[in-house]
Symmetry: C2
Subunit: 434 residues, 2 copies
């Protein structure tokens, strides 16, 4: 059985979903220059029988978005990738075109697939060759799976460069299980020596000429029963692919449980930080400072700003969550104006966005009648939900007792962290107590 | 690459976590008679470097319980399994002993492991042989992984029977990826024909005499570098193991994402049904009936009872969630008495248990002052949380307007379903609005 010794997939996948630090990461990746045209073929024709769901897995929803859109986004983020050909079964052409429009994918072309995986990939490769202008044709074609959403730029870079140099390149991973040969009667014949073998994974890269030639020369039987593009390149072009060890994040969504895993990875990547807007009042800033400390203990990093004007406007274009601190129960109007800004920035297009209204009440303050306060936030939240923004409220009472105050602040941090992590649509508009 | 054609892991794993139908299932499984002693060795000495967590993965928490406890439970549920030897690293002996006590495992013996997987398994097998009375020694030993928590009785039965008949038996699965051989320079040499090979998985079964002899005869090098028990049985006892195709639920928790997947499987299995206690009043029953219909649309099955006396007492011994419907804001005392019953039944030992207090208010009723109502449920919930019971409140207002009423009931169902599925500890004691 057991144990490969490779890297963990770690807390998550920073490059795929930057949370609040996009600028910094892009600068790091600026070094990865690819000076030749690269395009991608994403076969997405599978029927998803293994997930136990009626929807093919590439169209299953992960945090409200089809998995294929998450994978497409991973490629669209990469500046040196020209175009992504998504190959789907004929009956899903319209569905895929809708997804491209709805999530505003800019580099995608949808192509009809064939009856097998190889026929579909072949159609995708041929579609790339239709460019009249030869200069526009890709030098390298990357082939990936629609259901491996967490592929990172750095690894794509390695594959593209190796493909250009060697004609073909592919990701490999250590074997997770011992591989055994069975007798015809179903008994153990022998087990393979694990060190000599690897699992072939995706992505793979080919020069356009190698993959095009391989599909021109291969047989009907290859197209019908074959599974491995690297094998075709070897057999029909004499190209020994360069093999590159990939990270565990290349893993493939296969079963229903994998959808849950994918969702948890995305949720975690979206839940590391939030921007706290204080409005600048001293009481709000004091609360925000205390909240920042309590949240840090829960691995939630809070950035404090007084408003989103000037330089702080950048928070509107980052994948971050917002906490609006009010010291006045009537300040829901400030939250409404934040929601408008977020909507204008089109920030909730790809992921549901969390906004939490933290409302501080003084004991001496006349309390807004409960049903009215509850109804007000519920109304605003219901409207925001239609635009993929999840608004929740938390109310805490100012206390002179330091111990009690600290407990309340910790509770706000705990609830905030849970709301941001869980992103539950059923709980929007609730006014929670800390 | 791609595609094996086996069963999906499906919506979840009914046998591992019966929800409300334990009796029925046990009767079905009553047919699986094993009339020879079977014991289990669970090597749990791994250091968990691949999860990217500081805790070894078998000790990582899944819904508040260490994964190893979930796996142990899967074996303890099986009536014909005598004992489970858990082999852990010396430094984790105390931790494991604590886990056994805390979760009241009855069949477990904790044994110190060796420096490698084979040495640990060997220690476990030797521990089973220490019984003075030969009759007490197991006829068959099942070896499993601590981090494959969803193994089912039916499959264990197949392995045990085949092991007894053939001397050795092991689970296999189709290969998920193409297996390739690499050249010394890191290029593709050739790919294996997938149909001829299988992945060797767990559990495996051996007669005690075969596995004992295999470990007596094997070399230091086998103990140090070997990975496959089936291979030792073949090499040192001439036993060709019978190979049996296992379900995808045998999958192994390897990465951090797998912990999320495991948690989602357990959560889903715990979230299929709930018992609604109405107290018998007509208004409560009307609400419960409407709720039942709305919940069914969300795949949450509700059983309605007026109380938990007589035959209904059985709900207290099943893995189900509770919804208490009150038509009177002062009825928190009824909820407190339910909590006492649940505590007496020790129902939240293995999983956090959800209790939802649904409180119906008439418009003409004097509303309990908000802070008082909120503080009351928060107090009760905080105490219950210490006993692993998660209490939440939902308040809805009676309405004469049928459309509004229906909307409120749907909202209650939606919130209920989310609370039961998410089991968020941070939100206990909240009084939510529907």
């Amino acid at each position: 059985m057991e144990e490969d010794r490779s890297d963990p997939d770690g807390p998550s996948h920073p490059r795929a979903f930057p949370a609040g630090q996009a600028g910094r990461r892009d600068r790091q990746l600026g070094e990865l220059r690819v000076d030749f045209p690269v395009s991608v073929v994403l076969p997405a024709g599978g029927t998803g029988e293994r997930t136990g769901l009626s929807t093919p897995k590439q169209f299953c929803s992960v945090l409200g978005r089809p998995l294929i859109s998450v994978t497409v986004q991973a490629f669209e983020r990469v500046s040196w990738i020209q175009s992504v050909v998504v190959v789907v079964a004929k009956e899903n052409m319209e569905l895929m075109t809708d997804i491209v429009q709805r999530f505003q994918h800019r580099k995608v072309r949808v192509v009809a697939g064939g009856s097998t995986r190889h026929r579909s990939i072949c159609n995708g490769v041929l579609a790339l060759g239709e460019e009249e202008d030869e200069e526009e044709r890709p030098k390298v074609v990357i082939i990936h799976d629609a259901v491996r959403p967490f592929v990172e730029e750095e690894f794509l870079y390695k594959i593209a460069m190796a493909a250009k140099e060697h004609g073909a390149a592919g990701a490999i991973r250590p074997l997770v299980s011992t591989v055994i040969a069975t007798t015809a009667e179903g008994y153990l014949d022998h087990s393979l020596e694990r060190g000599k073998y690897r699992a072939s994974e995706m992505p793979q890269g080919f020069t356009y000429s190698v993959i095009h030639r391989a599909y021109q020369r291969c047989t009907e039987s290859d197209l019908e029963f074959g599974t491995e593009c690297l094998h075709l390149a070897l057999q029909y072009c004499g190209t020994n692919a360069k093999l590159i060890e990939g990270p565990p994040t290349l893993w493939k969504v296969t079963y229903k449980r994998d959808l849950a895993a994918a969702e948890s990875i995305i949720k975690e990547s979206l839940s590391r930080s939030a921007c706290v807007i204080t409005g600048g009042s001293a009481r709000a800033v004091t609360l925000a400072d205390a909240l920042q400390e309590a949240a840090a203990a829960l691995h939630l990093e809070l950035d404090l700003v007084s408003d989103l004007t000037g330089d702080n406007g950048r928070y509107l274009s980052e994948e971050c969550n917002f906490i609006h601190v009010s010291i006045d129960g009537s300040c829901l109007s400030e939250v409404e104006s934040l929601l408008k800004d977020l909507e204008a920035a089109n920030r909730a297009l790809l992921h549901p966005l969390v906004v939490i209204w933290v409302c501080l009440w003084r004991p001496d303050e006349p309390v807004t009648p409960e049903p009215a306060a509850a109804a007000a936030i519920m109304g605003v939240a219901s409207a925001a939900k239609l635009r993929n923004i999840l608004l929740y409220g938390i109310r805490l009472h100012q206390s002179e007792d330091p111990e009690r105050w600290e407990r309340s602040v910790s509770k706000v941090a705990e609830i905030t962290s849970a709301l941001i992590r869980e992103r539950s649509p059923a709980l929007v508009g609730q006014l929670l107590q800390a």
